[in-house]
Subunit: 409 residues, 2 copies
Amino acid sequence: MHEREGSAVNGKGSLHTEYMDRQGRLQEVMRTNGIDGFLVNHNVDLFYFNGSMQTGYLFVPAEGTSLFIVRRSITRAREESAAEVEELGSLRTLRDRLAQRYPGIFAPGQEALLATELDVLPVQQFQRLEAAFGGVKWKDGSLLVKELRMIKSPAEIDWIRKAAVVIDRTLEAAISGIREGMSELELMTIIERENRLQGHLGLMRMRAYNSELITGCVAAGASAAEPTYFDGPAGGRGLSSASPQSASTRVIGRNEPILIDIGCCIDGYVIDQTRIAVIGRLPGHLQRAYEVSERILQEAEAMLKPGTIAEHLYLQSLDTAAAEGLADHYMGFAGDQVKFLGHGIGLEIDEFPVLAKGFKYPLQPGMVIAIEPKFTFPGEGVVGIENTYVITETGFEKLTVSREGILAI
Amino acid sequence: MHEREGSAVNGKGSLHTEYMDRQGRLQEVMRTNGIDGFLVNHNVDLFYFNGSMQTGYLFVPAEGTSLFIVRRSITRAREESAAEVEELGSLRTLRDRLAQRYPGIFAPGQEALLATELDVLPVQQFQRLEAAFGGVKWKDGSLLVKELRMIKSPAEIDWIRKAAVVIDRTLEAAISGIREGMSELELMTIIERENRLQGHLGLMRMRAYNSELITGCVAAGASAAEPTYFDGPAGGRGLSSASPQSASTRVIGRNEPILIDIGCCIDGYVIDQTRIAVIGRLPGHLQRAYEVSERILQEAEAMLKPGTIAEHLYLQSLDTAAAEGLADHYMGFAGDQVKFLGHGIGLEIDEFPVLAKGFKYPLQPGMVIAIEPKFTFPGEGVVGIENTYVITETGFEKLTVSREGILAI
C-alpha cells in the first residue's frame, strides 16, 4: 500500500518528493509549450501527479505550487494529496477561486492558456468547464502527460517489479491447478483469486475509450483464436457478446495451447505477461510457431537499448514472421491482425511508447515496455510469449520473472 | 449467454426483434427531436441497440435501416450484429460512405443534424468526428439514450432476474465462508470466485467519467465507514490510494457490521444488493439504525408504483432519517454524504432514474431501480439494506431474492 506523505519508499526518498518531482516535470513542459495552467482531471493522472484519486481537479500553474480542489472525499484527499486541498463547492466558482490564488494567470484582459486531458475527458464535461471558465483558451495536454508518464521513476519501476512477482506466483498457481476437463473460466477463477489474495486491486486500467480488460486473456485452443474488438493479438470467445473477450466456458482440451496472458495491478501499477501451457504436447507447427515467437522476443531484446526507435522493433519482428512463412498468423490472423509488437505499461496497460509503425520515440532509460509476439491459428489456438522490460542506461532489465518455454502439464 | 440472431429468448421472441425494437424506439425519439441520424459509439450503447460490442459506429437514420460500420472484429460483428455490417476502413471515408447509403440525410446543400453520446465520448475523438464529417451539425444524444434505456423490456428484466439469483447464491457462499480472523479481502475473494463460476463477466460497468466499481463494497466496521470518492453511501478503505474503495486487508472483528454491498454482471446486466452480516451481534444503536433502514425501504416500497416522482422517494427517506435523529449518519457521514436513495440499473450500475432531488421522472412500468438506505457511523461501520425492484403496472416486483435482516454468523 502507498505510504503516507513523508514516509520512506524503498529508501528512495519520500512519496511527497516523488509527486512534487512529477509536478515539477509537468511545469517544465508546460513552460516549453506556453501553457499557463494544467487542470488535471483524469483519475489516473490525478494519482500520478498528486497521489490521490479523490474526485476533483488538480490545478498546476506553470510556476508556483499546485492546488487540489476536491468534490469528494475531502477527508480522504487531505490524507492522500501531495498538494494543498480545498473543497470544490460549485464548479461555477472554480475560475474565481483559481483567479484569487493565481492572479498572474487569470489577470483581467489576459487570455490564459489552460491544458487538460482531452483524450479522455467527455465532451459534456469539457463543455461544462468551458462554460465555467470565461476568457481562457483550452489546449489538449494529453500528449504531454503521456510523454511524461512514459519515463518511469525508480519508485514506479519498483512497483512494477512487485507486480511481476505477484503475477509469477499466480501463474505457478494456475499451472498447478490446470486439470483436464476444466473450463477456461475455472482456470481464470484460480488466477483471479491468487491475484486478489496477493493484493491485486481487482482492475487493470486502460486509457483508450471503450477499452476494457478483465485480468487478461485466458483461453485455450480454438477459443483463444477467435478474434475480438480488443486491441490485442489474442481475442477469446468470452462468456457473452456483452463482453466478447478472454475466458469462456469451453473445456480445455489435450494437446492444444492454453494461452495465459495475464496481469495484475499492485498499488496502481500493472504488469503484463504471457505464457503457453499445454496438457500433453503441442502439434509440431504450433510448437515451431512458439519457438519463432521466442526468437522474435530475443531479437527485440538485442535491440532494447537507449536510442533504438520504437517502431523499428515492430518492423524487425514483421520481417522475421514473414521470413518464417508466418506473416498471416502474426499478431492475429489475416484480417483481424493488430499492428504492434508491444506497448508501454505503468498505471495503465496502454501507455507510451507503442511498438508500432509511426512511433518514432527513441527508447530511453525508464521506459517500461511489454513485448508480446504471438501467432494465431484459427481453429487451433494462439501461441506466443510476453515479457515486460525496463530500458536502462546500457540496455534493459527484464522485469518479468516467470520461467519461459512451453509449460507442459 | 446471448443467443444468436433468430433464436428464441425466454419464449419472448427473438433477440433480432428485440434489437430492431430498440432501434425503432430510438428512431421515434430522433424524429420527435428533429435528429436525422444517430452515430452510436459507446460500447454499452452499441450492445444495447445492436447486440454487438465490436469496435465501430452504429449509424441509425431517422427513417430506414441502420448500418454497423466496424473497425474490429468484422468476423465477430457479423456473428453478433442485428444491423448489416460493413468494414470501416478509414474514418475519413465514413461520411462519404454514409452519404452514399443515406442520400436523403447527406444531400448537398443541406446540413444534417447528427447525434452521438457526448456524455461519454472524449473530446479528442469528437474532434476527429467533426473533422471527418463536413457540413453536419452535432447534438448531444446521451439523454435520449439514457431515457430509452431507463425502461427495460421483459427480456432485459429476465436477465436482471438471473443476476439476482446469481448474487443470492454468492451471498450465501460468503455467509458460509465468513470466519473470525478473516480479512475483508479474503471475504471478497470468496464472493468474486462464486460470482465468476456462475458466469459473472468480471466487471460492473459504470457510465460516469472516472467511476470504477470492483464487485461492490465489502468492508467491516471502521473500514466500511471511511469515506471515498465513490459516488455511493459506503466507501471502504480499499487496498491502496490507487483504488481507494471497498475491501482492505483489515481483519473482520466481532460485533461489527460487515457490509456486503455486491453485484454481478450476467450477460451484460447488473444487479446490486446490500446485506449486513455480523460475527456475534451488533451494538444496540447500530441494530436500531439498521431497522430504520429497513423501515425506509418499506416506506419506499409503499410508494413504488407508476406515477410516483423519483425525487419524492428520496425526500421521504430524508424525513424519516431526520425524525429518527439519524440525519447526520444518512447515506454517509456529515460532510461526505451522497444525495440520493437509489439509482436505475441495467447494463450499467448508474442508470436513470436517480432517486435524488431534481429527478422529476414519474415512475413507469419497466424501470429497474436499486434502493439503498444506509447509515454510516465513523469508527464503527455502515448498516443498511439494498434491494433491486422493477416497477410494474400496479406497483413493483422485488427482483432481489436474498433473505433480509441482519445475517448473524
